[in-house]
Subunit: 143 residues, 2 copies
């Protein structure tokens, strides 16, 4: 069975001194395993990509700014397709990306943006592949 | 043996499109278990506290702004003491707080601050105690 990309709505608990934003619980249905948590910032207009993990499942949350994610799914070589997701605290979802999907993302906020990835394995450069931005044709200029 | 509060230096990997900031790896010496990850924002000048977890160990990282943490350790009733930590991406450490320590924190950044807590258990209000700010005497006005 081919695992699909999944969006999960996350709670924000409002508080006069500062909100609390959920990210991931052990009991979440799409929690597999804890390997590593890290942040990745993306400047306004900058694009990071393309990267494909062969083993890692990503759990992505955007607590700061706004990030456009573009997934290129060519697991079925005869019918590859793109999926787009724009995440921010105003559209507060966790994006779960299974292995073997190409991912790129762009910073959409003038003040900068940041994602948290809670991955099921630790960083290991040998399990990921990289392509230059122009090696997968996608028109990034549109929002 | 009484577990102490611990600071662990974290790496920031500079990148022209946006930095990558480490938070926690499964292989980190102070990683126990993954229970839940959540963000807590704290407005400039706001103070959240006091709270004591009876079971949870906290792993706190400050990727946005600057937060002053004050720990009040009264586990030895005859010699209680305070410890203070000011964390930000310019003093980028993970703060590991074992159970039974009172914690309060204050937002030190005009643009707002945010912490990530990677806790070893899921949120459970029955395992934490709260005190009003004035129930533990601490002079928060100093930086």
């Amino acid at each position: 069975m081919t695992e699909d990309i999944k969006l999960s709505k996350l709670k924000i608990i409002n508080n006069v001194d500062g909100d609390v934003l959920h990210a991931l619980k052990k009991s979440s249905i799409d929690f597999k395993n804890f390997g590593e948590a890290y942040f990745s910032e993306v400047k306004y207009g900058s694009i990071k990509g393309w990267k494909r993990h062969r083993i890692m499942t990503l759990n992505l949350v955007v607590p700061v700014g706004e990030i456009k994610f573009v997934a290129y799914d060519d697991r079925n070589r005869e019918s590859p397709f793109f999926k787009e997701f724009v995440l921010s605290r105003y559209n507060f979802f966790r994006l779960t990306v299974p292995p073997m999907i190409w991912l790129g993302f762009k910073g959409m906020c003038k003040n900068g943006s940041m994602l948290l990835n809670i991955a099921d394995i630790e960083h290991d450069p040998s399990e990921s592949d990289n392509l230059q931005l122009d090696e997968i044709y996608y028109k990034w200029t549109d929002k």
